[in-house]
Symmetry: C2
Subunit: 409 residues, 2 copies
């Protein structure tokens, strides 16, 4: 008997028929004698609709009220899933974030889970009851609904698995695993049977939409065995059919490059002729951080005259209005031209094998150069190299790189 | 300065534009120096969609999970309304049922409000903050979301007004007041400037959809001045333009009949040859009551042989499956034929003046007879006479009665 947390994404619960299909999988896990906690996303399209309402009221909405609105999507699915399980004669009950409670900090719209009180739900699981929890939501210290940011249901699942010390966390989604790149762009992309947490984090943070970055980080930290699998195939998680995300040491054959990722939800901000005074970078990026804007790639050039410098960085497109508003209020930037564009994409090469090999970066630059693609910004880590390019070249770059590193199946 | 509770129905918050329009009315009340608590319904269509999902999963769904699903509709509107008010530089905050809390009993799907803790929201109102509360929802003793039944947002509004000792409760809806009958059936129907609580209760319980019955009962009990007005006209509640619902004594000229109401959401159940043993009625209706099925009209005939009797009663159509399931489990009815039909409508004549006048009932029966409409069941109270007829005659009956009692404008 194992304790399993299973998570169903938006397309896996897109309508009642799919919720019923997901319920069937849960029943099969229960029939094998497993204790099951379920995390559900909103039915696909619902969150976008709710976010759309908020944007329609105001671009600068209060995130506390945003959380009240958007958290309802998962709440709906949780109730329906509990009903679908009950119809199958499985004891089930929904538990909202404030009922468990799943305590978070006060960063509404992007909250972080502080603590999950498992007292009551553990009792229910031991009695054989299936516990259904809406993903993406928690409750803040001030007793208001908080949400974890887009894709937060993955984080909910891993956090719950860690809190319950679950044997496994199965993420059911609309793809059957993690691929070397997006199969919609490269039809020959290959499914990976295993991938390390580190690589998965890079792939996730770089736009491979299979898992939310934070969820993989959390799984790595808490040693939660994580599995990605399709809810549209006839197997269940206990049969181990998808992509297993494991510790680096558990991967037998290390490949040089595991995959090519891309992200279109980037925006580029360039500050022209920033006064080159000590601490100016801190005075720019600290307020952005306080405004909860995640800054990704940063490039700064030393200017010819030593008096002013140009600075470029990227933020997520959703954060761009807030970033520009924050920058507009900075005294340091009073005479600085701020240029922003959403017309960019980030393309990345990821692989643990990179650490011990040379030439990965130069092959990337040469491949892009050969296709006439200009590199705007470069950013590297031990296991990935990312470049910012004009958005229109995204597919071309991904295909060229996938072929250059020999990732085809 | 007055403390006002305003409630906006589903069509008044049907989309973001209408939410903004409602927010404008609230702002005008605030600008007059009034403290305002707002109750919002779900955007029109949303509750039906959510109930549809539940029905699709199972006709016999768990009402605790039903409440989790359907309560989200009002939650969404509450968050959006708070945003819309904030955009207008009015301090506003949403307060969900469990946050206030609005305590109810455990009758999920049809819960009754037990207590509203106004400590925190009173503090906010005194500070000039607008308090936005989703209607229709509360929290049960076991800390689960409960809902008050369809139309429950009116009850939420009146209960909140009573708890806050509000000076007035304004119900904004898609009609500009209470009419002598449905203007869609009788174009000459006349708007009533004032109506007594008692008449409004009968009209509401008989299908006039302007206000939920329970809300009017509660307003009468707690002496909450109630006002029905249109959210689509340019006035606000403080200008008193709709229909005022008041104590009977406050109505100057008493009319014989105030209005003609009808209800199509009735179902008729007939039990043929029920054993005529002592207590059989109790053994039939107690289980229905325990199953939270509201039985309305009841007729029982004494049978010729004294051994068996026929019994007819009506329930709301929504309750019919539950009623039939309950009856099917009763040992007393093992050999009884149960005939159910949804093909009926209830038409009623309502008026406080009826108490002191004769001939109201006979005029009703004569009017229907002249049109060839068969009366299936009759039920009377001090201020109303209701008859059950075949549904297809509804409009004809309403028009004939409206004319017979001289209610045209």
């Amino acid at each position: 008997m194992a304790l399993i947390v299973v998570k169903f994404g938006g397309t896996s619960v897109a309508d009642v028929a799919r919720i019923e299909n997901a319920a069937d999988k849960i029943v099969r896990e229960v029939e094998r004698g497993n204790q099951v906690a379920v995390i559900v996303s909103a039915m696909s399209g619902v969150t976008n609709q709710l976010v759309g309402y908020c944007d329609e009221v105001s671009q600068l909405y209060d995130t506390r009220e945003y959380d009240v609105v958007v958290s309802s999507g998962e709440q709906i699915t949780a109730g329906l899933m509990a009903m679908a399980l009950q119809k199958r004669d499985v004891e089930a009950r929904s538990w909202l974030g404030w009922q468990i409670p799943i305590r978070t900090d006060e960063t509404h719209g992007k909250a972080r889970i502080a603590e999950i009180d498992t007292t009551e739900i553990s009792k229910r699981l031991k009695k054989g009851e299936v516990v259904v929890v809406p993903g993406f939501q928690g409750v803040s210290e001030r007793n208001r609904i908080s949400t974890l940011g887009r894709g937060g249901s993955d984080t909910s699942a891993v956090a719950l698995a860690a809190a319950l010390k679950a044997d496994r966390c199965d993420i059911y989604t609309d793809v059957d695993g993690v691929y070397t790149t997006d199969p919609r762009i490269v039809p020959k992309a290959r499914k990976l049977n295993r991938i390390s947490f580190e690589e998965m984090i890079e792939l996730a943070s770089l736009g491979a939409k299979v898992l939310q970055t934070r969820s993989v980080e959390m799984a790595m930290k808490h040693h939660v065995p994580l599995q990605v699998l399709s809810s549209f195939e006839d197997h269940i998680g206990s049969d181990l059919p998808g992509t297993l995300i494991v510790e680096e040491d558990d991967i037998m054959e290390q490949e040089l490059v595991s995959g090519i990722a891309y992200a279109r939800d980037e925006a580029k901000v360039t500050l022209l002729k920033v006064p080159d005074t000590p601490g100016v970078a801190a005075r720019i990026f600290e307020p952005l951080s306080e405004a909860a804007v995640n800054v990704d790639m940063i490039v700064q050039n030393i200017s010819a005259d030593g008096k002013a410098t140009d600075m470029t960085f990227t933020v997520s497109r959703a954060d761009l209005p807030k970033a520009l508003e924050t920058l507009g209020n900075l005294a340091d930037l009073d005479d600085v031209d701020i240029i922003a564009t959403e017309d960019v994409a980030k393309v990345s090469v990821v692989g643990v094998g990179m650490i011990s090999h040379h030439g990965v970066a130069s092959k990337m630059f040469a491949t892009l150069a050969k296709k006439g693609i200009n590199i705007q910004v470069i950013s590297t880590s031990e296991i990935k190299i990312s470049v910012l390019i004009a958005e229109e070249y995204t597919e071309l770059a991904v295909r060229a790189l996938h072929e250059a590193y020999g990732l085809e199946s």
